[in-house]
């Protein structure tokens, strides 16, 4: 497989976009932001599923894949749920009274 510059271009654009999106996030929400990006990054589960689900995977690959799918699932489930739990607590004054 050869070098593919389009992948680098995608990375650069995404990093640039990420920089500008995150800059706009209010510092109020930095904790939930961290747990949200963590949950989203658990999309690595895609790679883990490919390892675990492959037909001719070796026993070692299956063990590694199994742990990886479990760890990523823990992150995505707890990440989204706890982000929402935190965000529910942020109330403006108007709704408080």
């Amino acid at each position: 497989m050869t070098f593919d510059s389009s992948l680098i271009a995608i990375f650069m654009l995404a990093a640039f976009l990420g920089y500008h999106l995150i800059r706009r996030v209010s510092s109020l929400l930095h904790s939930p932001l961290m747990s949200l990006t963590n949950a989203i990054a658990a999309v690595a589960v895609v790679g883990a599923l490919l390892v675990l689900g492959e037909g001719e995977a070796s026993p070692l690959a299956r063990v590694l894949g199994f742990i990886a799918v479990t760890a990523a699932t823990v992150n995505l489930v707890s990440g989204f749920l706890i982000t929402d739990r935190m965000l529910k607590m942020f109330k403006p004054r108007s709704r408080d009274q």
Partner: protein, 460 residues
């Protein structure tokens, strides 16, 4: 399933993740962002499961169920004061997944010769493994399984550098000639060991920066996996996560006027020697009832919370005090320093949990401009972030932006005793004529003030 359909599913998922972060910018739209992220994740997982190369479903189902069975209680039972620990743990899990996938993919390579893929995979393993063990150590420190203070020994930096360079050389050799022999296992051991050594010398107050930095590493490792698997969704997501971590780390560093290398390779924290004369100079102190009375008669109050508030679990009592004072017509706001607490945004989450409306949480820069018009600045469990020594360039914390509580008309500091803060520097604030020390446990003291206020209210 047609792989092109799955490709489109991945693209839509990437779009939803970007929308999710866009909506995260404001509290009013943030929960919509979570839903967008969840739909994106569902699309990505379902899309992968219907790919024709995925044939073994039994183990996948077991792993997904097991992960959910751990994840759901983790999300609902975790107290809000433990959010920094949970975040460190989730970075460890994420990095673990990434490094195991990298290892499994790498084991398929031997005999193929050097390639773009072998380079991406060794980079992914190096970064993933060190992030995983570093996050575990951060978790242990935050959970106080390991001591929070910096753990240092002579020659530490040289040892760290030697281990990291050996691991990096190993990565290059493995990338040039993929092989599943002793070299791979030594490389794995060295990369993991480096992560442990990296975080050992870091003290509690530097945790916000370290957690953000580990977040960035985890993101970049995930991106590297995307390069190896030629999966654009993983590249985009990893880049977004990495960018987020780096920006938060930069904000934290700026809020302490320090560089990344200064945080990682020490400086602050190792000298805990008390400043000369500390604890001997006279201070003014006052009682709960008197402090409550003064607060009641102020018209504008700013509360400056710090990690001490989290340790004492005082946020609910602080919120009670806030409500009593507001009910009496006192304007109360909370000034949040970016590095107060153990992770970015830590204080905001705690106060939101205690039902303080978020429009009363103000940033350092916004409150400093009007500090002269504040009647009382009430400092709860914060020390270095209000220390005027930061204005002296020669000080250990010189140049660190602080909340200028000494510009307020009166200052009250709730503190257990006269011990200096994390940086080990005495705080001039305590000795000012306009400062009153409120000695005691933050939770008990605030609760006492709130009671005293409501009692006075009942007497009218």
């Amino acid at each position: 399933m047609n792989p092109h359909v799955v490709e489109i599913g991945y693209l839509v998922a990437a779009g939803l993740f970007i929308l999710s972060l866009t909506w995260m910018s404001r509290p009013s739209t943030a929960r919509r962002g979570v839903i967008a992220g969840e739909i994106g994740m569902l699309l990505a997982i379902v899309g992968t499961l219907v790919l024709k190369q995925v044939v073994n479903y039994e183990l996948i189902v077991v792993a997904l169920l097991l992960g959910s069975a751990i994840g759901v209680p983790l999300a609902y039972l975790m107290p809000m004061t433990a959010i920094p620990q949970r975040t460190a743990l989730s970075h460890a899990f994420g990095a673990l997944a990434v490094s195991l996938i990298g290892t499994a993919e790498f084991l398929k390579l031997p005999g193929t010769g050097p390639s773009f893929v072998s380079g991406a995979l060794t980079f992914e393993m190096l970064l993933g493994l060190l992030t995983c063990t570093a996050s575990l150590v951060a978790f242990c420190k935050l959970q106080e399984i390991l001591p929070t203070r910096p753990i240092k020994f002579p020659g530490q930096s040289i040892l760290n550098l030697a281990i990291f360079s050996t691991a990096a050389v190993g990565a290059v050799v493995l990338a040039l000639e993929p092989q599943a022999n002793w070299l791979l296992w030594i490389f794995i051991a060295l990369a993991s060991a480096f992560g442990v050594l990296l975080v050992m010398p870091i003290g509690g107050a530097d945790m916000p920066t370290v957690i953000a930095l580990l977040n960035a590493y985890a993101g970049i490792a995930a991106s590297a996996m995307g390069f190896a698997l030629r999966n654009q969704l993983l590249i985009v997501t990893g880049a977004l996560d990495g960018a987020s971590g780096f920006i938060l780390a930069l904000i934290m560093c700026k809020a302490m006027n320090r560089s990344f290398s200064n945080v990682l390779f020490g400086g602050l924290g190792q000298v805990a020697a008390p400043a000369p004369g500390a604890g001997q100079r006279p201070v003014r102190s006052t009682s709960m009832e008197d402090a409550a009375l003064q607060l009641e008669h102020a018209s504008r109050v700013v509360v400056v919370p710090g990690y001490g508030m989290a340790v004492a679990q005082a946020q609910h009592k602080v919120s009670e005090l806030y409500r009593s004072l507001t009910a009496k017509g006192v304007e109360v706001r909370f000034a949040i320093h970016p590095v107060a607490g153990r992770m970015p945004g830590h204080m905001n989450v705690l106060l939101a949990e205690a039902n303080v409306p978020y429009d009363h949480l103000v940033e350092m820069d916004d409150v400093n401009g009007e500090m002269a018009a504040i009647d009382i600045a009430l400092v709860i469990g914060a020390n270095d972030v209000v220390n005027p020594a930061a204005r002296d360039p020669k000080s250990l914390i010189g140049g660190m932006p602080i909340i200028d509580v000494d510009h307020a008309r009166q200052v009250m500091v709730i503190k257990r005793g006269m011990n200096p803060g994390f940086a080990g520097i005495d705080n001039e604030i305590y000795y000012l004529d306009k400062t009153q020390m409120l000695f005691g446990d933050a939770k008990d003291f605030v609760s006492g003030m709130a009671k005293s206020l409501s009692g006075a209210n009942g007497g009218h």
